[in-house]
């Protein structure tokens, strides 16, 4: 009787040799990064943590508006520039619009006031360019 197990042990590896390819871990990581950036752009990967952060920011923005004594309806008509800048960041985690140095600093002040630390870095980066 043919010992199929031994035969496959001996022959299968010869018939299906190792492919002649080299590992490239850096390319894997690069594609992961590209994929994640793509998701951020389309806004498809909003995690529960991020949604919670957005909710906190929205509450803080409303509270800030009330504290300044500005009616909500009036703010909807003419949103503050810093408010628009924060909304810009909230939409996809990036700041795509063009904002002045003053607007950027006001947005940072508001974010610091609300202790929203995850946003600090992109706004600081933007400030370095806008306030040169």
């Amino acid at each position: 009787m043919i010992d199929a197990d031994s035969l496959l042990n001996d022959e299968l590896g010869r018939v299906f040799p190792y492919p002649n390819v080299q590992p490239d871990w850096a390319a894997v990581l690069s594609d992961v990064q590209a994929m994640q950036q793509g998701r951020r752009r389309t806004g498809k990967s909003r995690s529960p943590r991020r949604l919670a952060l957005i909710a906190v920011v929205v509450v803080v923005l409303c509270a800030a508006g009330s504290a300044l004594g500005i009616g909500i309806a009036q703010r909807l008509d003419r949103p503050a520039a810093w408010h628009g800048m924060i909304n810009d960041w909230l939409s996809d985690g990036r700041i795509d619009g063009t904002y002045s140095c003053g607007t950027t600093r006001e947005a940072i002040r508001q974010l610091n006031h609300a202790r929203i630390t995850p946003a600090a870095e992109p706004f600081r980066r933007y400030e370095r360019v806008a306030c040169r």
């Binding site: 496959l8 042990n9 299906f16 492919p19 990581l29 594609d31 992961v32 994640q36």
Partner: protein, 164 residues
Amino acid sequence: MMAMKRGATIDGLEAVYRLRFREFCRVAAAITGEESSGADAVHEAFVRAISSRDSYRADAPLEAWVWRIVTNAALTRRARPGFEDEARQEAAVESESTPSDELGLRAWVKELPERQRLAIFLRYFSDLDYRGIALVLGVEVGTVSATLSAAHASLRKMLKEVPR
């Protein structure tokens, strides 16, 4: 190996990648039928594994989890429209370096039912035990044993029937 409480780390996945890259590529190439698409499937699988590493649960070895992603990536790649034509062209280029196959094992493997084929590749090309193979295939350990027995019986039948 590399078991963690919840979620896999990138370091852990890199270790599996570097440790088993050749085996992953061999199995993926055997599934797709040609080398380059097998390597592409392994690449895709690790991109997917890193992206979904939080879904890994330590009730199974990390390597088995990755094997499952690799085999699925290779099967998906093979199922894509137009893949057969591309593979035929690639195979024609590769045929010069293809090893001889007097027993007709390539044809035999190709004719096997999908699960038997995967079980054969995992049994002889990976270092997974029956439990690991069962996890990759999503079946019971006893089913792996029965599947391999059926494949062996099929091989014996083929070797008796085909005049050499």
